[in-house]
Subunit: 219 residues, 2 copies
């Protein structure tokens, strides 16, 4: 029986992009279903009743949720090509640590930066930039977080790259100036078809963020 | 060369208890170092410079942090006995989902319940109880979250059991009334020496929480 793979996702989601990249790395064919998060489908509510969030991977009828967990699942099931997590337990723990760091820090601090004003905004934007400086330091002089190869942390972080223009515009900074090595790393990642085909255009992302921002401000 | 294993921990930490249980399950000998979180040791700051938190497992000089990541590391390194994560990828993803749910929900909602008053407290305590009801539903009629055997979710949740008395006292509810199946599950877990020897007495935990609470109130 051929695998039936369905992805419930939203085009602008960094977390959905992780799953798209992982599936592309493994060469898995799947049906993509765009969700409207303001009018969630009965399928999404049925498949992720606890968090009601995308992305959800449905593999032969069974749902897997939370992007970092989905990516590990994909790596374990389609394990014959393009390993995503390292095989060494210590390296695996380190990779999981950095993806966890990304998950705990970037999105929450971004929202606080994006939606705050004045002194609060200034504090948050500095904190936001320091997260990326920390990530750049963790990369060191390696071409990828996976060392010489694209791996779990690369896959976990690169989707944020198409949000950089939005981050920079609202956060009043230039990532190239703050974290030049991180930009060089992102450009290396973008040379992979699995990545470049999974990330939307940064201006389209900005238009999306701007529309939401205006709507929130007018409330 | 014999493994050198050191655990930086604090006796009252649910997250540290997870690591103690995992090491006991695997029969790993280790040196336990109690940390004073108000005066963190140079070793802790050196081994976990990012989060500066316990628990930290130091294995042959190399640090692993974040309790769920440490437990997976222990399971992968000492893989010859007492498997903690299931071998099936889908079951593994489900187990990771529930530990992630526990990590996202319990501690944060507990703090909000504990430190709030009036209407806010009432809202939070209801939310807090609903988390355990959700976890009880996930257990279903199984003896353990791991099915017939004690596994990753059991290990991730059981340390909170020695906090139940504190939760009940500050949250004005009885877990036995709200979640009787969860209490039965906890008692089953407590029959394992790895668990009962890793959890401190609930009254001692309460005294600790009460002292902190008084201190916070007086500020």
């Amino acid at each position: 029986m051929a695998d039936e793979v369905v992805l419930l996702d939203t085009w602008v989601s960094m977390f959905g992009m992780r799953v798209r990249i992982a599936l592309a790395e493994k060469g898995v064919n799947y049906e993509y279903k765009e969700e409207n998060l303001r009018d969630k489908s009965p399928l999404l509510l049925q498949m992720n009743p606890i968090h009601k969030k995308i992305p959800v991977l449905i593999h032969n009828g069974k749902p897997i949720t939370e992007s970092a967990i989905i990516v590990q699942y994909i790596d374990e099931v389609w394990n014959e090509k393009s390993p995503i997590l390292p095989s060494d337990p210590y390296q695996r723990a380190q990779a999981r640590f950095w993806v966890d760091y990304i998950d705990k820090k970037i999105y929450a601090t971004w929202r606080e930066t994006w939606l705050s004003e004045g002194e609060e905004h200034e504090t948050r934007r500095k904190e936001f930039i320091s997260i990326f400086k920390q990530l750049e330091e963790a990369l060191g002089d390696n071409p990828f977080y996976g060392g010489d190869t694209f791996g779990f942390v690369d896959l976990g972080l690169i989707p944020f790259y198409c949000w950089f223009y939005t981050f920079e515009t609202y956060g009043h900074f230039k990532m190239e100036e703050e974290c030049p090595k991180l930009i060089a790393w992102a450009k290396r990642c973008m040379q992979r078809e699995s990545v470049s085909k999974s990330l939307p255009d940064e201006k389209k992302v900005f238009d999306f963020a701007e529309a939401i921002h205006k709507e929130l401000q007018s409330k």
